[in-house]
């Protein structure tokens, strides 16, 4: 295992992040605050409580998930797309490294950035609402796993994409709707039965539900199912990436 290479990629990617640390910090703080103003204050004043939790607190796990997923995807997809776009990928291809090491470096860095933003949002939320986290370790584990699996997914998008439009396409067309319809801002039980059934085909529902369980101890689906969903998603992404590198698809002509 070429750990030096993993470290080199990780450090290099993180240095890009640190150069824009202020931006990386400020934008989630602002957007979270806006969500609280709109959802928490405007809507929350009419809903008050969902399943015994104040609406403001109820949306926190969903808010964090929304940002963590989109950040993990965009960081990882950009991270690997950029060398492809600018041509520096030749170095990765000519180095004595295997796909796992490349993935560890890029996905590790992307997941770290997403995790950082998740924590910032959690901190910001704590300033707006009273938050008690019932299962802090489970909460952290869920967040880390989500960062990793969506960074893996983003990595695939970055390799697949052949221009910047495609890079934006999947997050915009698939992820954002799935997340918004994934129970981030409501409980699935609030939906009419037909929509409840449809919702259970949405993988994001399982993540948000599991994550919310770690906060409040209440979930739309059993926690074991949530864990299974995220593990399955991670395994699928890893499998696809392994195939990509084995065949050289979109990397080695």
């Amino acid at each position: 295992m070429n750990l030096q290479a993993v470290r080199a990629i990780y450090v290099f990617e993180m240095s890009r992040f640190f150069r824009t640390l202020l931006q990386s910090f400020v934008s989630p703080v602002i957007s979270t605050s806006l969500y609280f103003v709109v959802f928490g204050a405007a809507i929350g004043s009419r809903i008050e409580q969902v399943e015994g939790v104040s609406y403001g607190a109820f949306i926190v796990p969903g808010l964090i998930m929304l940002s963590v997923m989109t950040q993990a995807i965009s960081n990882a997809s950009f991270g690997i797309y950029f060398p492809k776009f600018i041509g520096t990928i030749y170095e990765l291809l000519s180095a004595p490294i295997n796909f796992l090491e490349i993935v560890m470096g890029y996905v590790g860095a992307a997941a770290t950035k997403a995790l950082f933003i998740g924590v910032v949002i959690l901190g910001t939320s704590a300033m707006f609402v009273d938050l008690t986290i019932q299962h802090p370790f489970a909460m952290l584990a869920f967040m880390v796993l989500t960062c990793l699996s969506f960074a893996l997914f983003g990595f695939i998008i970055g390799i697949w994409a052949q221009n910047f439009e495609q890079l934006q396409l999947i997050p915009l067309l698939i992820i954002t709707p799935l997340v918004f319809l994934g129970g981030s801002f409501y409980s699935i039980s609030m939906l009419p039965p037909v929509w409840q059934t449809i919702s259970f085909f949405n993988p994001v529902v399982y993540l948000v539900s599991g994550f919310r369980w770690s906060f409040f101890g209440l979930a739309d689906v059993p926690i074991g199912l949530s864990l299974l969903a995220i593990a399955g998603f991670t395994a699928m992404c890893l499998g696809i990436i392994w195939l990509i590198f084995k065949t050289g698809w979109r990397i080695r002509q």
Binding site: N2, A5, I9, V11, L92, S94
Partner: protein, 311 residues
């Protein structure tokens, strides 16, 4: 000693079915400078890409330092440094950072003293904290070399290191290459500039349309194919070569003012004395005579033309 790089019957077809390499075999010796000479689209970059792992050969094998580049890619690639033809660098990165990244990528522990040595050798030390986009084109090319050298490779591939580079920098580049050879690095460089191959290579391989046409010691090549030209300047221009001189296969240049006769220096008799006599018999008056040794360029053009005729 076994060859440093062993290329055996490598073929490469791209997705569209185009065959860019048609069974290339070539041994590159430890410590030599090999110039890979060929026109645009000859397959030079493709060959280098197949050796360095950027592209998968369709068939055939390549080994570096005894390691197969596919099955033992770690061992093979650790020995190889690659300077690509295109300037591929991240514009916002700083020189030192990107060079350090390259070293780490190849699994070497951080060693800033080594990187300083490399950057100094390439006259980049003053620019170590500059962003890539603040550098001139020539400097960027040297950054690419620094990146390739950062992990102390034993074999260095330079894909057209002097394309679009001014004369002074080209000489610098040649010097750097010579220094590297002194340090024991095996160097393969591709070029369109024949004078470049002539100036620095130990051996020259000519490639065209995916075929290696010839591999030879530079000096042997120059003598073996060394043709000379006799240029005969006339007092008065003529329209065409007089019939009685037809047997000499001469051509007319400069609006009929210069007769050019090509001959082989390895022949015992060049026939120059007879030619001169016959020219004055034909009533032409000589003004001046010059001879010119064929350059590698002429050899090259000749080889490529031969291949074209054969096709």
């Amino acid at each position: 000693m076994p060859p440093m790089v062993e290329i055996t019957d490598v073929r490469k077809s791209y997705g569209d079915g185009f065959e860019a390499l048609k069974g290339v075999s070539l041994d590159i010796l430890d410590g030599e400078i090999l110039a890979l000479l060929g026109p645009n689209g000859a397959g030079k970059t493709t060959l280098i890409s197949a050796i360095c792992g950027l592209t998968q050969p369709t068939s055939g094998t390549v080994s570096v330092g005894g390691h197969d580049v596919v099955t033992e890619y770690r061992g093979a690639r650790a020995l190889v440094g690659l300077v690509p033809q295109e300037i591929n660098l991240e514009p916002f990165e700083r020189v030192m950072n990107t060079v350090r990244f390259s070293r780490g990528l190849f699994g070497k522990p951080r060693n800033d003293a080594m990187l300083e040595k490399i950057l100094r050798q390439l006259s980049l030390w003053d620019k170590r904290d500059s962003r890539i986009m603040e550098l001139s084109g020539g400097m960027k090319r040297r950054v690419l070399i620094a990146k390739a050298l950062a992990h102390e490779p034993q074999v260095l591939f330079l894909d057209e290191p002097t394309a679009g580079v001014d004369v002074e920098l080209r000489r610098d580049m040649w010097e750097i290459v010579a220094q590297l050879q002194n340090d024991g690095v095996t160097i393969i460089l591709t070029t369109h500039y024949i004078e470049e191959a002539e100036a620095i290579a130990d051996r020259i391989a000519v490639i065209n349309k995916g075929d290696i046409l010839l591999v030879e010691e530079k000096s042997a090549l120059m003598t073996r194919l060394g043709q000379k030209e006799l240029r005969i300047e006339l007092q008065e221009p003529i329209d065409r070569v007089p019939d009685i001189l037809a047997a000499w296969n001469m051509r007319l240049e400069q609006d009929g003012l210069v007769l050019v006769y090509s001959y082989d220096t390895t022949q015992d008799r060049t026939g120059i004395a007879t030619l001169i006599r016959e020219i004055s018999d034909a009533g032409l008056i000589l003004r001046d005579l010059q001879t010119r040794q064929n350059s590698l360029e002429d050899i090259f053009v000749g080889l490529v033309a031969e291949q074209e005729d054969a096709a």
